[in-house]
């Protein structure tokens, strides 16, 4: 290690670059591919990216902090419902107003729920987060203010007005808008988990008492992580409301929470690319099952839960990354 010569540095470089190949390749695919696809596929890819943001936000608390939340859809749904309510009741559809307000509401709810749920950890934490999520679900279900046209849902949310009179949305331009949001979220979350703060979270996940002894205020770290995760879930919820044009109480409920949790675990917990891969697997599956056999979708989904836990517990993303490391290692050493 002491004797650094030029040769070893040049040998290192391809290996360093190779690390970025998967990111560059998926970036290229995500940018170029949608232009060649029919619009329903563009819309599906939009949904994948939205749920990827949502799943990454859950992974921040689940994979990096060790807090298993079964109520994470609460913040997603609050973001969506806020956008819907602003549109229906105040006629506000300006992106620069409705998106920040939606995200802020999600953050507020997360800040309040975090105070309640973080009284406990582990087993109880699962219960409390689930109960709080279901509380919002029943409010959305019963409160007429959050319903339109006699159904328990807010329907007819248009794509946002961005303040340029000549601009109209198409499914491809909306896709690129969501893609931009996704890239920003990925970048921010990546910076966060690789910061001293992120390392502290991982330390808390692995051994909370040790971190406490080291002088960390572990409660505060968990709380901040919880609220930040709520913010990113809110971003996903806002985008989803624009995309889906309907928000229903189920978007707040444990059904959605469990679905997004499945994405995280299927892709690989404790990584940021894992949840993205999870979303990219589940959303198309849901789409095609919805066409072929909508009434058996829960059965298929449930079986997928069970099978993936029994046979692919580490997560698809982790397998793929191991595979890639092997390829990259061989490539790097041959190239040497």
């Amino acid at each position: 290690m002491e004797t650094t010569n030029l040769k070893s540095i040049t040998r290192l470089w391809p290996g360093q670059l190779v690390r970025f190949v998967p990111y560059i390749a998926s970036g290229v695919i995500l940018i170029l591919l949608p232009s060649f696809l029919p619009s329903y596929m563009q819309s599906m890819m939009t949904k994948i990216l939205i749920f990827a943001i949502f799943a990454m936000s859950l992974d921040l608390i689940m994979g990096y902090t060790g807090l298993i939340s079964l109520g994470h859809a609460a913040y997603f749904g609050v973001g969506g419902y806020t956008v819907g309510a602003l549109m229906v009741h105040y006629d506000i559809n300006m992106l620069w107003i409705s998106a920040p307000v939606g995200i802020l509401m999600a953050a507020l709810i997360a800040a309040v729920f975090g105070l309640i749920a973080l009284r406990v950890t582990g087993f109880y934490f699962i219960f409390v987060t689930m109960a709080l999520g279901q509380l919002l679900f029943s409010i959305a279900f019963k409160w007429e203010w959050l319903s339109t046209m006699d159904v328990e849902a807010i329907v007819g949310i248009p794509r946002p007005d961005i303040g340029l009179p000549w601009f109209t949305w198409s499914s491809i331009s909306f896709y690129y808008f969501v893609f931009l949001a996704f890239v920003v979220c990925f970048f921010l979350l990546n910076r966060l988990v690789n910061s001293p703060f992120g390392y502290a979270l991982q330390g808390i996940r692995d051994s909370e008492p040790r971190m406490r002894v080291l002088g960390y205020n572990t409660w505060l770290y968990r709380y901040i992580a919880f609220v930040v995760a709520g913010v990113f879930a809110g971003v996903a919820g806002v985008l989803f409301a624009y995309h889906n044009s309907i928000v229903v109480p189920t978007h707040l409920s444990i059904i959605t929470s469990a679905l997004v949790m499945f994405m995280v675990i299927l892709g690989g917990t404790g990584t940021l690319y894992g949840p993205v891969i999870g979303a990219a697997v589940i959303i198309p599956l849901e789409f095609y099952a919805g066409i072929v056999t909508p009434e058996r979708w829960p059965l298929i989904l449930g079986s997928a839960f069970v099978l993936s836990i029994m046979y692919a517990r580490a997560g698809i993303g982790v397998y793929l990354s191991r595979l890639w490391n092997r390829v990259a290692y061989r490539y790097g050493s041959v190239k040497g």
Partner: protein
Amino acid sequence: MEFIVLSMLNGLSYGLILFLLAAGISLIYGVMGILNLAHGALYMVGAYVGWSIAVQNGLNFWLAVLMGGLAAGLLGLVMERVFFRRLYKQLNEQVLLTFGFIYILTNLSIWIWGAQFRASFTAPILAGSFHVGGLTYPIARITVIFIGLIIAVGLWWLQDKTRVGAIVRAGMDNKEMTMSLGINLGLVSTAVFFLGAFIAGFAGVIGAQLMGVSPTLSVDILLLSMVVLVIGGLGSVQGVLLGGILIGGTDAFGKALFPELAMFFIYLAMIIVLAVRPRGLLGRR
């Protein structure tokens, strides 16, 4: 006065059903470190099996109760032997796996028994009412209260006074140590899982005659029993019983006084307990 007594009895019968469910979850978690979210789904399966025996086929109610319990118990046995064995202490995976079972069991139940709500029924054996003083109260509900209390006492006795209970409690505190003492904890775990699942299915049938059955029950009743566990605290039968009775009572009085807001009182109770005693009113550790 009459109103208060009747609401208390309603709350007690409902609370005892929640207790039966929550006690199973608590027992299984305690012994095996497994969080079985599908417990509510087992309750629902038991309720449907009992419903089709007692109502569809008009057979004996106690047969229905027994078969509902057995159906849930056997399902639980399969779940334990095939799947949970390999997931000790992996909470992430357990949550997802058991949630997968909720989806599967709920969807299969819709397939077999239909998605519509099946109304509550009264078994012919339990028809009629008690008349005490000026009060009348249905025998069916009184029976639920009796059965619930008997099982509560039985579970308490089993857990606190018998050798099996001592093993169970030892397993809760330190699994490895208990096994190294030469105790076949695997066998005890399987038995406990079967017992917990059996009680869930059993509770499903006696609960169905008070509240009916529907496919949404698997999540709804799970949620309530989780609130019971948060309030009562895991690990002791007494804690879960107290939680069940408190939630049943809150629900009964809430429904009688403010029908629209009954649901929210339960959450309020949970939040207050979390603020005051995060480990539950009578929680171990």
